[in-house]
Symmetry: C2
Subunit: 340 residues, 2 copies
């Protein structure tokens, strides 16, 4: 028997070792946002799976079943977006408690169907199982990307800018607002709660970066910048410096963080579930901003740069400190970590 792996990423590394090397047509196996297969022809197949578990990823006291269905599609679309891909097909495996009204399971299906239409995904099969202790939702998604446009976590180079496609931390603050039942003004509460319950993935931004070959590395922000930028650094064998003053914060996040007694920049960098894209690019910031705007997308924000080394540094008023890997880990139980 192997030694106990350290946390989620230790477990994934240990599993990857057990599963051994992949055949040559597998371009990327365990470790990136999607598995990448070469089926012959001009495109790669991208393949991902994500599971949402009641009581961990959602609470039906807050989340509607329709939102849950939408979210299952969104988080998978986000994995494809990170690799520059277009989603195409999905299978849905729904675990439903036998004593709950089965007609309510259709509300989950309605949410899946709605988001699938939005992202042009055809849901073409799946599985339904009894799950006595809570609702579970697994969606697996197949998509495509032209071979020369594939984005991965590897490829960031020293000097590249580090960018995010939108504001950070809102979903992490939103789940905390819900958990603590905080009474907040609606203009603070609503965007945060919505970011958690109905996240918006960024496939158009991923496609734009891919088609224009402007990103040297890309990942979707599911665990937070500190953790996810750490993955880019590890795969690219570089370090990164993030400037605290450049981290995009919304007024709602700043207000909520103060009420929660938290540093808004810490929430933004270590909270999870942003589902924005984090990418690195050698292109000038102005070029990227102009390109995004002319495609009808919000301009990305440069939050830092790639540097030599192996750590993610946060530069603030008090100097640099290392924040590598300080994201949400599903298997770390200490209560200090931000919710994801």
């Amino acid at each position: 028997m192997a030694e106990a792996p350290a946390g989620e990423f230790g477990l994934i590394a240990a599993l990857a070792e057990l599963f051994g090397p992949s055949p040559p047509e597998v371009i990327l196996g365990i470790g990136d946002d999607c598995a990448v297969l070469d089926p012959g022809g001009p495109e790669y197949l991208l393949w991902t799976v994500d599971t949402l578990v009641e009581g961990v990823h959602f609470d039906l006291a807050w989340s509607s079943l329709r939102q849950l269905g939408r979210k299952a599609v969104a988080v998978n679309v986000s994995d494809l977006a990170a690799m520059g891909g277009r989603p195409a097909y999905a299978l849905l495996s729904l675990g439903w408690p036998p004593h709950r009204d089965l007609s309510l399971a259709l509300e989950v299906g309605e949410g899946v169907a709605e988001a699938a239409r939005e992202f042009q995904v055809a849901v073409i099969g799946g599985d339904t199982v009894a799950s006595p202790l809570g609702v579970t939702l697994t969606l697996t998604l197949l998509g495509r990307v032209p071979k020369e446009e594939l984005l991965t976590r590897a490829g960031a180079r020293v000097g590249d800018g580090v960018y995010v496609t939108g504001p950070l931390g809102e979903a992490a603050a939103g789940v905390e607002v819900l958990r603590r039942r905080l009474a907040l003004p609606p203009e603070v509460r609503e965007p945060l709660v919505r970011a958690h319950l109905d996240p918006v993935p960024q496939p158009a931004a991923g496609r734009l970066l891919a088609a224009k070959r402007l990103a040297s590395a890309c990942i979707d922000l599911s665990d937070g910048v500190a953790s996810d930028l750490g993955h880019i650094c590890r795969f690219s064998r570089v370090g990164a410096r993030v400037e605290a003053a450049r981290v995009p914060l919304t007024p709602a996040l700043t207000a909520a963080a103060r009420l929660l007694g938290l540093d808004p920049v810490a929430v933004a960098l270590t909270g999870g579930e942003d589902y924005q894209l984090l990418f690195t690019s050698a292109a000038p910031e102005a070029t990227l901003k102009k390109l995004f705007r002319s495609a009808g997308l919000a301009a990305p924000t440069r939050i830092g740069e790639i540097i030599p080394g192996a750590e993610v540094l946060l530069t603030g008023p008090a100097g640099d400190r290392v924040i590598t890997g300080r994201g949400y880990d599903h298997f770390r139980l200490d209560r200090e970590q931000e919710p994801g």
Copy 2:
């Protein structure tokens, strides 16, 4: 909101309606063992997903974590076998309770890796999530089949023989032996328990039938003959007659059924989890048996024939009775149904 769907199959039909029509390159969507995609070229892609839930599909009091990992691969390989396919790639989504020792999660991985090697499947990615209330295991599998060899549930014709690739009911009896903690002689107990804990899918039989174009319809026996032959009849717009005296029973099943006070033929036809193939064929029985034997496989058993109509009939000493759909349904809660 839609009306409450009747049971698992009602739910699946209602979901299929929500998800709407598939694009033209989707050869088969919801309803068969796998989704079938045409990526161009000489082969179809086959894609399936199956979830195993603690307390429903397995009990860790009986099943080892390694067996659980093996079973997740086996049930998915069985879905591909039913369509004549060769499995190729898998993603694993593992839900693990945060308070359980993470090193034990690797035992599940060892079982997955072992079965994956056995069936030549490369595990190339997945997801790990916290699942506080129990272990869950979702495996999604991609495989291939030459286009002209695809087996489906549709295609059975009146006069075709109905065949199964091996004995039935052992897994259903095995789970009951475990639940009731029956003390049985080892030669009775062990094959039954093994059939439940470590099922053996039949991809070689599926490939043989596909390559020789000998099956007019095929399905894998996950819910039992009464239910699964019902699916073939529905998709093929025919009926079927099963002869009770021809249903292949092992001595262990017959002995256990007597001790349990059950009719062994009823256990064999309505129990689930056989993971044998059920197929229809116009070929002479002797031809099929010879072909299987010369490929090193156990000869299939002819258990009945396809007839006009829409029902599955069981012919026994007392005449014919309708058994359509009397298989295991995950959402039926009456205690009369056989375990699956």
